[in-house]
Chain length 320, copies 2
């Protein structure tokens, strides 16, 4: 328990506990397991703190919205307690206490939505996202303009797109928000680069595919790391996987289930080599992508029994 953030979270939970006297002499043993690349810009700390806060608040019988407590562990953890699509509201207070997570729709709202994560590198980030964001706040002339003028408008568009299940609108805002986040990182001094050459190949692949289809069928987003998170509808998965396979083929000697994880990732789509070459004009890049996770929008933090846990694979998805 040397981690100061963890201590802050625990103190806050205890403050709101409704069974303080009952537990006041108890010590707490936390055992945390994780099946996701850490410190790679894939919100692993958000997932971890969401679980921790969910478990602790259950133990201490804390009532009401506890996303503000999760936020003290990792900013984005306030989005990870609920399932479905969650908004991180900015809030107005300097203390940040009204900056919380708010569910927009549940995980059942848009069942066709799929997510393909291309894990480019599990290496530790050159600069952590909290430290990076602080440096951007202090030095980027663009950040204030973005916060004042661009984000509020995009938040409205995004909410409307999710509620009405308008995929092209959802996808365009997703890509533009990702681009502008990294634009601010580049405008920071000294500048920050989370995306690498492989990330940019994925950006080009996505735009080339959408242009080929004549409409936006897949979106990318990059967080504080080089890994890509692609959003697409179930109907597009097979064809998009054919394009991904063309540019990022699995390593020759790797077993298929070590490269494709999560939901089945069969590409049955009949797309010819000639089409792939003319649409993409990109050389295959073996080993640029480490592995691929195919998943979908899920529920939030869950309490599971040991028995239930044994039925899940290493991605937290039901064993096939």
């Amino acid at each position: 328990m040397d981690n100061p953030r963890l201590q802050t979270v625990l103190r806050k939970v205890k403050e709101r506990a409704s069974n303080k006297s009952e537990l006041k002499d108890c010590h707490i043993h936390v055992c945390s397991e994780n099946n996701f690349p850490t410190a790679a810009g894939l919100a692993s700390s958000a997932a971890g703190y969401a679980c921790l806060v969910s478990a602790l608040t259950k133990l201490f019988n804390v009532q009401g919205n506890v996303t503000d407590i999760a936020r003290l562990g990792s900013g984005s953890a306030c989005r990870s307690l609920d399932g479905g699509f969650v908004e991180w509201t900015m809030g107005e207070k300097d203390s940040g206490e009204d900056s919380t997570g708010k569910q927009i729709v549940t995980e059942d709202h848009w069942p066709e939505m799929r997510i393909i994560i291309l894990v480019v590198s599990g290496k530790k980030k050159a600069i952590g996202s909290s430290k990076g964001m602080l440096r951007s706040t202090q030095t980027s002339p663009f950040l204030k303009h973005r916060a004042d003028k661009v984000v509020p408008d995009n938040m409205k568009k995004m909410q409307a797109a999710i509620k009405s299940k308008d995929f092209p609108a959802f996808a365009e805002v997703t890509m533009k928000e990702s681009n502008q986040l990294h634009s601010v990182c580049q405008d920071t001094y000294p500048p920050i680069s989370y995306m690498n050459d492989t990330s940019w190949s994925i950006v080009r692949l996505v735009h080339a595919y959408n242009e080929y289809k004549g409409q936006i069928k897949v979106a990318y987003t990059f967080d504080a790391g080089p890994n890509a998170v692609l959003y697409l509808l179930k109907e597009s998965v097979s064809e998009v996987l054919a394009f991904i396979n063309h540019v990022f083929p699995p390593p020759n000697n790797q077993e298929k289930h070590l490269y494709f994880k999560g939901l089945p990732s069969e590409s049955n789509h009949e797309v010819t080599k000639a089409t792939l070459n003319s649409v993409l004009s990109m050389e295959p890049q073996q080993n640029a992508v480490k592995y691929i996770i195919h998943t979908k929008v899920g529920p939030g933090a869950q309490e599971i029994t040991n028995e239930a846990a044994s039925l899940l694979d290493e991605n937290g998805l039901p064993k096939l």
Copy 2:
């Protein structure tokens, strides 16, 4: 003469000719030679059009500032007619006719200034700079903010820094301007990336070196391509080359003069391996940099005789 921009330039030169009748029946044979990587974001077209306009306006005896004609060939060519440090004024007219080049100081003003160009890739750009800039104008929410709020202020700072030979101020504006240009490219939709992983290694090298020295001793700038242009004072060249050599060593079997071009690039600086490793913590990247040009601020377009030309090496510098 199928090139429409070349025709525009020639027509404009003829309009302003003061010896029209004399030359009206002459055909013009243009022979252009170039010793710089083309379409790599190193302003090769600016150099070419500056030469062409300089030669044509001499032939047609055009008087006065002709940078507006050069700009019709390649925007940045209006900066390349004069030597020293040149400002590209924005102008106010929609036609762009008052957007011209204006010399700030001559090439003798700051004789200590040196330039080291790391040629990362001679490959053709994914998107040309004119086309890219047009797309940014149409789609980047940041570009207008940059043009209105950031550039005018930086232009003032830059002029003052050059006139007073304030290297740290010059260097900081140079790096921030480069970062923000590429930030706008990233904010464009679809986004544009001219820098690659090697470019980012150079950015990290420069910031690490400056931090080690406790003050800004070297600056980077990237144009519409992955190649880095470094600015530094003569006194820093030897030590900076030791750092560059550590991360980007010459290929094993390449002759030294093919890797280091231009001014002598001896690194006599006694910097230990241990220092290099602790300052940079970067692995050597052989073959990431193709070659290195060491040069300085020079004069503008020059008329030279064949005899004089034979005394210059392939970089346009006096043969050693």
